[in-house]
């Protein structure tokens, strides 16, 4: 009789428990990101940038070099790291407040310059760390700490579709949107990250993977209710799938 562990913690993650709330999507996102880095055999040549937001603690969990960045300036920091170290795998991890609000200028210009790093963008439709305020990605009608009557387009505009928005820029060579709440979707999301890394390693240009995530604690729902809400309300606004792939063709494809 032989025993084989067919699923276990990747060496891309430190053996640490996260401080994230139960059900939080950052956990799965961290894991598939770390698996993708390990599978790219890049643990020793990765430099990641952790955003201000819940995922600032990424550096406690990822088993590779990581720096903090000021809120929203994550792509500026990643830009310089990649310019200095063009042969390293550079990862810019951002939340929706970090990217789509305070850091809109930095992300648009890094993307437009075609900076050769990969952005992992967690869209949980609100600001997690500060207690569930409205983000640019918040849905119309969604109640948050700062839209107690629900977001209205008159007052607060419309949900920003960052992956599609950035995909219009010629410097962007890869854009895809995945989700983190179902096994099949998680597999697909990971395949997006791996492809984004290929684009980066081929020095083709900018790559972004947007990942829809539940935020049960701030949505005021259980994790399972949150999954339902995500499917019901977020998927129609934020359709999943590949948006742009202008990287070099895959072998055999």
């Amino acid at each position: 009789m032989s025993e084989k562990i067919i699923f276990t913690r990747t060496e891309g993650l430190k053996p640490a428990a996260t401080t994230y709330c139960p059900g939080c999507g950052h956990g799965v996102a961290h894991r598939i990101l770390a698996e993708a880095v390990a599978e790219a055999k890049a643990l020793e040549r990765t430099v990641a940038v952790a955003p201000v937001g819940c995922a600032v603690y990424g550096y406690d969990y990822w088993n590779f070099d990581t720096t903090e960045a000021a809120h929203g300036r994550t792509p500026a920091v990643a830009t310089a790291i990649k310019r200095v170290l063009p042969d390293r795998l550079v990862i810019c991890y951002q939340g929706d407040g970090d990217m789509a609000s305070i850091g809109m200028a930095e992300i648009v210009h890094a993307a437009n310059r075609g900076e050769k790093f990969t952005v992992i963008f967690i869209n949980n439709a609100n600001y997690g760390m500060t207690g569930g305020q409205m983000a640019p990605t918040t849905l119309i009608g969604q109640k948050t700490a700062t839209t107690p009557y629900g977001r209205t387009s008159e007052e607060a505009g419309y949900p920003m579709k960052m992956a599609e928005f950035l995909a219009q820029l010629p410097g962007v060579k890869y854009a895809a949107r995945g989700a983190l709440h179902k096994p099949g979707l998680i597999r697909t999301a990971k395949s997006y990250i791996k492809r984004a890394f290929e684009i980066q390693e081929a020095k083709a240009g900018f790559s972004i993977v947007e990942l829809l995530s539940i935020c049960p604690a701030n949505w005021g729902l259980s994790p399972l209710e949150s999954v339902q809400k995500l499917e019901e309300l977020m998927l129609p606004i934020y359709p999943l799938g590949l948006i742009k792939d202008e990287g070099p063709k895959k072998e055999g494809a």
Partner: protein, 72 residues
């Protein structure tokens, strides 16, 4: 002999989010009465003989608390 699978939940990591329970096609994951140090009741596989090793529970677990072991 057909393969058998074991679902091992790390009591230090599980946060009782129940995502594994919802995705299990065999409906063999439950929340037990056993609590960990953080006060979370632990997820548990009630019937290893029914497990097909699909890994759905492990894939959705945000806390990487689940290991799957295959025995042949």
């Amino acid at each position: 002999m057909p393969a058998h699978f074991r679902v091992k939940v790390d009591p230090n990591l599980c946060k009782s989010c129940e995502l594994c329970i919802a995705v299990c096609p065999k409906k063999i994951m439950v929340i037990s009465d056993q609590k960990n140090d953080l006060g979370f009741r632990l997820a548990l596989c009630t019937d290893h003989s029914a497990c097909t090793g699909c890994m759905a529970c492990a894939l959705v677990c945000p806390d990487v608390a689940i290991e799957i072991i295959r025995t042949e």
